[in-house]
């Protein structure tokens, strides 16, 4: 004999501490158990894809900051790579290395945020987040030195980067690089073996590799399911083919493994940074394209409008959240004819219902935290 209760619909969000922005999760509950989960999004929809059709290729770069605002570098990078593919531009060596360094710093900052907020979703009252912020702040300081902004960076340019790093940048970055391994060891100590975190996240929201692949999941979520797929390794861009690093892979595909994979990736990013700092060559940071002029201090002044040839290009990179792709169709004009963002946060949400049905409300929050969405990127 089973006792049936009435279904109970709870709206988690759009104003909720744990939806990481204005995102709404409509849970149908039986007691505490989830029987149905539905996503409602679009509260942050700014119609970037339409706006981008009205702006030149260069003017579109700031939009890419504002999709994934916790990882603006990778957004920039994917977009300029797509345009470069379209225009067939050869990027100077130093610019490639700089892009790699910035992308990896951004990955550490973004993963630190993801891990901290995930612990917060588990109920650790702000402490992990604040510890992670300590490191993230220093990385943001480095960004500020390099490009003058901390969050929406607008650093990459079509054909290179906006300007070379200042002289005092490298010593400060080296200092940070010396500090970080100890910090990461501390986080691994505190979080990975924490009995409560293990109890809360092991065996929750499990995705098998088949499911993860079929549901187009990418990034740490896919790797946590045991699929060793990393665009940096599979299709190296920037200077990733010249550095040595490993793909961090989980074994069980649960929330805990996503968290473990993120922590391991932060360490791999350090490895990449170490090699990049040693091996980065000197040289120009911007390709000479069309009427582009490079100022004596290294800043590239882009021409007002590029006109790539008619065609289409799809470039994808490994952003901290997964496979970030830009699909650009050109009709030969100064603005993209079609500008589409394949945003990992958005597509990683696809299996949310699959993961959360049968779990409890508390689990749903942790699962949502493990997807690590940025609503700016979900809604675009």
């Amino acid at each position: 004999m089973t006792i049936k209760s009435e279904p109970f619909v709870v709206n988690v969000g759009p104003q909720h501490p744990s939806t990481h922005g204005v995102f709404r999760l409509r849970l149908t509950l039986d007691g505490e158990k989830i029987v149905d989960a539905d996503m409602v999004m679009g509260y942050l929809h700014r119609s970037m894809e339409k706006l981008a059709e009205e702006r030149t290729y260069t003017q579109n770069i700031p939009f890419t900051d504002r999709t994934d605002y916790l990882s603006a570098m990778t957004g920039n990078l994917a977009y300029v790579m797509a345009v470069e593919k379209l225009m067939n531009v050869e990027v100077p060596e130093r610019a490639l290395w700089l892009r790699t360094i910035m992308a990896e710093l951004q990955r550490i900052a973004s993963h630190a945020m993801a891990v901290g907020i995930f612990a917060n979703d588990c109920g650790a009252w702000q402490t992990p987040v604040m510890h992670m912020f300590r490191d993230r702040e220093k990385i943001l300081d480095l960004f500020e030195m390099a490009c003058g902004a901390r969050l929406t960076l607008n650093y990459m340019r079509i054909g290179g980067v906006s300007k070379d790093i200042p002289v005092e940048w490298m010593p400060q970055a080296q200092r940070l690089l010396k500090e970080l391994p100890d910090r990461f060891a501390e986080y691994e100590d505190l979080l990975l073996s924490n009995e409560i975190i293990i109890a809360r996240s092991r065996g929750i929201g499990t995705l098998t590799p088949e499911q993860a692949t079929a549901y187009s999941v990418s990034g740490p979520m896919l790797r946590a399911s045991g699929v060793a797929w990393d665009v940096r390794k599979a299709d190296p861009y920037g200077a990733y083919d010249k550095v040595d690093f490993d793909i961090a892979v989980g074994r069980n595909g649960d929330v805990y493994d996503r968290f473990v994979v993120r922590l391991a990736e932060m360490r791999q990013s350090l490895r990449i940074l170490q090699q990049a700092f040693e091996r980065m060559p000197a040289g120009p940071v911007h390709a000479r394209l069309g009427t582009a002029t490079v100022q004596p201090w290294g800043q590239a002044v882009a021409p007002l409008a590029y006109r790539p040839p008619v065609g289409e290009a799809y470039a994808r990179i490994e952003s901290p959240r997964g496979e970030l792709g830009y699909y650009i169709v050109s009709d030969g004009g100064p603005a993209p004819f079609r500008f589409h963002i394949r945003s990992p946060s958005f597509i990683n949400l696809t299996p949310l219902k699959l993961m959360s049905v049968g779990m409890t409300v508390a689990d749903a929050i942790v699962i949502l935290g493990s997807v690590d969405i940025v609503v700016g990127e979900v809604d675009r």
Binding site: M41, G42, H45, S47, E49, K50, E53, E54, R55, T56, T213, A214, Y215, S216, V217, S218, V227, W229, K233, A234, D235, P236, D241, D244, L304, A305, G311, E312, Y314, R316, E323, G325, Y327, V329, D331, G333, P334, A335, F337, R338, H340, R342, F346, I347, L349, T350, P351, D379
Partner: protein, 176 residues
Amino acid sequence: MATRTKFLSGLDIAHRIEQRFPGAVDEALPEFAMIKPERLIETLTYLRDDEELGFKFLSSLTAVDRLEWFEVAYHLESFRLNQATAVKVRTFDRENPKVPSAVTVWQGAHLQEREAYDLMGIYFEGHPDLRRLFLWEGFAGFPLRKDYLNLPGGLNAGLERFPGEQGLDFSGRGTQ
């Protein structure tokens, strides 16, 4: 160590599809292969399940308004073989564009097809839950279509010139 993803050209893909399903390919370019809508699902299933192709991962699904027709682009990847390709399908019906849904092939198409329906107005037949995604129910029109609205300033979509470029007439601040 520098492996790179092998991009299978549209011509190659088209050739393979043509061998398996004669008449399924509409058009083939190096960048993509255009598939006829009525043969879409079996073709995509073939692309997914074939041993030498193995495109188990749907990287991106998006719709493009080409003014004369709508097309839906599928960017596919294979992890095992580290290769990628792109296929497309198009529909010339601007009033009521319909394309078969790929959800039965890749569940990952679920949200992306909803997005394409929401913003481009392409109806995916066979989609289990085709609703508006970002915009609310009852929103008039589909904003990503080129004929949706002219933007402020009177600049039409797909314009040839931009403010600041030489030769643009700024006297009238737009054409409307």
